[in-house]
Amino acid sequence: MNRVKIISALLVVLGLSGCYPKGAEYADDLDLVATIKGNDVDYDKYQTYFLADTVMFVKDNESDVLRPGLQDLILNQIASNMNAYGWTRISNPAIDTGAALITATVINTTQVVSGGWWGYWGGWWGGYYPPGGGYYPGYPGGCCYTYYEYTTGSLVVDMIDPSDSGNGGPGLQPLPLLWGGVANGLVTGSDQSINIRVQKGINQMFWDSPYLDKN
């Protein structure tokens, strides 16, 4: 009888613990796009833009390199959206000093999470609370070990006015942001799927910023 009770209790534990509702299931479910409209910016003041020809790459792993083709894809997608919104791209900012400057930066960060028994359950449930208290997505950790490693990637697109004097004061001062966009997600999947997600992310930045539209 006791054995039956113990088995029943275990079945209750296993059965109910497996039914916690799941969140995101696929990498692109975790894609997030954020845009910021500069404070008191008069966008009518700007009709042209200069797009920096290099995508900056910030990473925490020295051996990482920006995948070939990704830079062109990012720059072309930004230009395509800006042009569609009625902006004119210039190639020489020394001539058109009133142009807005657009820069793009890719930031890759590798997260490593390991833990004990609780980490296992958290991972199994698609958990969100690693021992350090942050958030991590529910990557499969296998049945008997608790080790998670994943890379998050962010594409940051900034629009600034290089002719602005900044905040004033001595020394280097940050230039005020005219507009900014961030596409954030997991760096996982095939090159093709990542390319599609990057393009979607850039498009979403502009859909969320109708105030940039000059048409």
Partner: protein, 207 residues
């Protein structure tokens, strides 16, 4: 929340393991382990509105007479909703307009901790309809996820839970079927949470 959840399940299971045949009359204590399905109602449906198949509770009742019991009930129900596709949230930070777009997942965990009183319309050995109510607190935790980020908010809220049900003798045990309306009242910084719970469980004697 998930850690609390599994600890609670393990604790409830231990109680079940010590169970004895039920006697639901004066001087006896009865435990009911219920599977609890529920649906959010009221304003909280703006946050989560899906029917929840996930929940359970443990209802312990001490019979002060053959027709009246006092006790405690606690358990757990979780509700969730997810956006069909991307949704956009627009808000202001330092006077700047910020727009965030992505899929959104919402979870609401509700843990009642209530003192209960029930009145039974029939004596032990019969099919026993009952009415009653619970009063106490609700631990309410909401978790909103967008992208790789989540925001969690939790409150302990006062509430009431009127209930009706029926105990059906079944061998050494009883089958419980009940309907409970849980209302955790809102506060200045927490929204009220109303849920309608459909309980189906098995009773054991605990003394």
């Amino acid at each position: 929340m998930k850690r609390l959840y599994i600890i609670a399940i393990a604790a409830f299971s231990m109680i079940v393991m010590t169970a004895k045949p039920v006697q639901a009359q004066e001087g006896n204590t009865m435990g009911i382990l219920n599977y609890s399905m529920s649906v959010p109602v009221g304003d909280i449906t703006d946050y989560v509105n899906d029917f929840s198949w996930r929940g359970f509770n443990l209802d312990v009742r001490y019979f002060v007479s053959d027709f009246v019991s006092f006790g405690v009930v606690s358990g757990w129900n979780v509700y969730n909703s997810s956006s069909e596709g991307n949704i956009s949230e627009v808000f202001t930070i330092n006077d700047a307009q910020v727009t965030i777009t992505g899929k959104q997942y919402r979870f609401l965990n509700v843990v009642p901790i209530l003192a209960t009183a029930y009145y039974y319309l029939e004596a032990e050995g019969m099919v026993r309809p009952y009415i009653g109510a619970g009063i106490g607190g609700y631990y309410v935790e909401s978790n909103t996820e967008m992208g790789l980020y989540s925001v969690t908010d939790s409150h302990f809220q006062f509430g009431l839970a009127p209930a009706i049900g029926v105990l059906i003798p079944a061998g050494y045990s009883h089958i419980n079927m009940g309907l409970t309306y849980n209302q955790a009242f809102g506060t200045s910084n927490a929204e009220g949470v109303g849920t309608l719970n459909f309980n189906f469980g098995i009773a054991w004697g605990l003394d």
